[in-house]
């Protein structure tokens, strides 16, 4: 059992903190503009798509936890090696490593693009990415407990943003939601699939599981985390569907930020500027947890220190941000990543669970 991860008690985290980890990894840059992507598929019934994918994510998490409990202190990388053997297992781990890295990269470039389109059109890409990467390096070197702390604070400090939706609600027209369930069922499912990029993040559970102190109590916080995320997305999509008229929504790239742009205070004319800046708090746990997950995968295969890894990783990411700049490039990365992520996050856990089950039956 060389794949068992031995974690010192002082490096472990409490089960209830997994709530923040799951929730903050899910909420990221996707929420800025997921509305029009689903709307293209399921029109005014887009909120059903959100509901469907929310329920599906709960099911997947049940399967994930079942798989993890079969091997008591393994993460996904270890389980892969146990189930498929070292060679194939490591091959899958490399894919997963790249998945985490691309997730990191995609969050970063999407956020940079938002800053450049909304606030500082002339601000150079390298500057924003360097600033963010330094922040990530700092947090990452603090270890898992610091990263989890960041997600806790990210949740606490940014949760209030959801209440700002009350302002656009004044301009919304519930009529746009009717007729309910006009779209075909298949279109609603397509819309749910298009949500992938926005709702992923809970797969972090696969990696963080061995680090949880009281593993028996992990179910509750994970499901609550998912529930809060789903409810949040549901609120945002419902407000968006009623606030924008159909074609308008499908032309709005960052509908959530446009929702904020109607908000005005006597002391703050343009609320969305504040929101965009605040979003750094929201994406920070995203970035940290993905790079942490990538590192976990790599250390199992080759011997590399955390310090060396994070600097190397950051340099590569920084270099890559020079090449990917235009909306079309970023959009196609999001699309391809969303497609791949669907199989990695929603299909692979089912596959792995069945295989692990079969293997366990055969060996016993």
């Amino acid at each position: 059992m060389k794949n068992v991860i031995h974690v010192k008690p002082q490096q472990m985290i409490n089960a209830f903190l997994v709530f923040f980890v799951v929730h903050t990894t899910q909420i990221g840059v996707g929420i800025h503009g997921f509305q029009r992507i689903i709307y293209q598929e399921s029109k005014q019934d887009a909120w059903f798509s959100v509901l469907v994918i929310g329920i599906v994510s709960h099911v997947i998490v049940i399967v994930m936890i079942k798989t993890l409990e079969m091997y008591d202190s393994h993460d996904l990388y270890g389980i892969n090696r146990e189930v498929f053997g070292t060679w194939i297992g490591n091959f899958i781990n490399v894919i997963y490593f790249f998945y985490c890295s691309v997730a990191f990269f995609s969050v970063l470039i999407n956020y940079i693009e938002v800053i450049q389109t909304w606030i500082f059109p002339l601000l150079s890409t390298w500057f924003i990415s360097a600033t963010l990467l330094l922040l990530v390096i700092y947090t990452f070197l603090g270890g898992l407990r610091v990263i989890v702390g960041v997600s806790f604070f990210s949740f606490m400090l940014a949760f209030w943003l959801i209440f700002v939706l009350v302002f656009p609600l004044q301009y919304s027209d519930p009529q746009s939601l009717f007729p309910i369930l006009e779209s075909k069922f298949i279109d609603i499912l397509k819309g749910a699939k298009a949500m992938t990029f926005t709702i992923i993040g809970f797969e972090i559970l696969y990696i963080i599981f061995p680090f949880v102190k009281d593993k028996k109590n992990i179910r509750k916080p994970v499901h609550y985390g998912l529930l809060v995320t789903t409810l949040m997305y549901l609120a945002v999509i419902l407000v968006s569907l009623t606030y924008f008229s159909g074609e308008q929504l499908s032309k709005t790239i960052w509908a959530t930020l446009s929702l904020f742009s109607i908000v005005q205070f006597p002391f703050l004319e343009r609320f969305e500027f504040l929101a965009v800046c605040f979003w750094m708090l929201i994406i920070l746990p995203n970035l940290c947890l993905y790079v942490w997950a990538a590192h976990r995968g790599l250390t199992g295969m080759i011997n590399i220190s955390a310090k060396k890894f994070i600097w190397l990783f950051s340099c590569i990411v920084l270099l890559l941000t020079f090449f990917i700049k235009s909306r079309i490039q970023i959009n196609s990365i999001n699309n391809i990543f969303g497609q791949v992520a669907f199989y990695i996050v929603f299909i692979y856990p089912l596959f792995l669970y069945v295989l692990a089950l079969v293997k366990k039956k055969l060996t016993s």
Binding site: T117, L122, S124, Y171, Q175, S176, S245, I262
Partner: protein, 372 residues
């Protein structure tokens, strides 16, 4: 030591590289209003009202205009005439000239929505005649014409005398299937600027106008109406105690306190709608002798008010159907009630002129002031 030095160098590069573009108030001109017209050659004439602040903190308002093919190109053109860099972030209002509105303002709405430096809360209005003339007139009592127009429309929107025409609300209608947009019309009358009417559109083209007093009915049907004053006339012969010439119509000023609106599609083939409006209100002015303690009299009065409201509403509706502008959102109702209608702007506007609306208005008098 080397590590520390490295960190210092790193943070210095970030500090220096991170200076985003500066926007010093003394060095920029704030465009508070932009007006667009179309000239004879089909080019866009842009007039901007610019507020500049100098070092002594005195602000100065100037207007400047340029001719160009595009609205933003004209701004660059205006920039060449000013000493300060022009910024759109404080833009509060956009005006369209009448000829431009007739040609269509869709591309302007698109450009405005695209621009992240302008808020989606900016107000839109149409000028009767040219926007340039209205803005460049040397008003005696108005210092800042941009601020004046903004305050004028904002105040009227707050009092629910005209429909709110923020960029978001107008483009919501523009991009929707089944509701056409309306924006207020402003006009210069000697030395003052006033709201004179409502411009009705079909998609993005101006097709008709209604006088300002009819805004009330539009507000009522579009469903955003909460409370407001309006005036109507009722036939004089309903008052039994009336000594004056009984056939003459009597004006009534009413103030609604609450209202509910229900629009329903009753027959999708015609299409036929049922519009039920319940109003609760009080009488502010009535130029006739009347006994407000007599329930029979009150009922008579309510009936007369209902009748006259219905008639006026009907005539507005007929007018809108005639010019084919669905400002009431009947199409939206149709789309939301008919499954798989696949309604488009064209298919709805083919049905709309022959649509039938049965109007039922129920006005209830709650109070009539402190003196009989």
């Amino acid at each position: 030591m080397i590590k520390k030095l490295g960190l210092v160098i790193l943070s210095l590069t970030l500090l220096i590289g991170g200076c985003a573009e500066q926007k010093l108030l003394e060095k920029i001109g704030l465009i508070t209003l932009a007006g667009y017209d179309l000239n004879e050659d089909g080019k866009v004439v842009t007039t901007a009202v610019i507020r500049q602040v100098d070092q002594e903190f005195q602000s100065m308002v100037t207007t400047s205009s340029a001719v160009n093919d595009s609205s933003l190109g004209a701004l660059t053109e205006i920039n060449r005439k000013t000493t300060k860099k022009l910024m759109q972030g404080q833009m509060r209002i956009t005006l369209f000239g009448e000829t431009l509105a007739t040609e269509g303002i869709g591309s302007f709405l698109n450009t405005l929505s695209k621009n992240s430096s302008t808020s989606s809360g900016i107000l839109l209005a149409m000028t009767a005649g040219n926007a340039k003339e209205l803005l460049e007139y040397p008003y005696k009592n108005i210092n800042d014409v941009g601020q004046e127009i903004y305050k004028l429309i904002e105040q009227n929107v707050d009092a629910e005398l005209v429909t709110s025409s923020t960029l978001h609300e107008v483009s919501q209608d523009y991009y929707s299937v089944g509701r056409d947009m309306i924006i207020p019309i402003i006009e210069r009358k000697e030395e003052v600027i006033e709201v004179t009417g409502v411009a009705l559109f079909n998609k993005d083209k101006l097709v008709g106008q209604l006088p300002a007093k009819d805004s009330f009915y539009l507000l009522l049907i579009r469903g955003k109406f909460k409370s407001g004053k309006f005036e109507t006339t009722i036939p004089g012969d309903i008052f039994s105690s009336n000594q004056s010439d009984s056939s003459e119509p009597v004006p009534v000023v009413l103030d609604t306190i609450s209202s509910t609106k229900k629009l329903k599609l009753t027959d999708k083939n015609v299409p036929e709608f049922e519009l039920q409006i319940n109003l609760n209100g009080r009488i502010l002015e009535l130029d006739a002798e009347m006994d407000f303690d007599n329930p029979v009299e009150i009922e008579k009065l309510e009936k007369a008010i209902n009748q006259s409201l219905t008639e006026e509403l009907k005539s507005i509706l007929d007018y809108c159907q005639e010019i084919n502008s669905d400002v009431f959102g009947l199409g939206k109702q149709y789309r939301s009630q008919v499954r798989n209608s696949k309604l488009t702007h064209e298919s709805w506007h083919a049905k709309y002129p022959t649509a039938k609306v049965n109007i039922k208005i129920n006005f209830k008098i709650l109070r009539s002031g402190v003196f009989e």
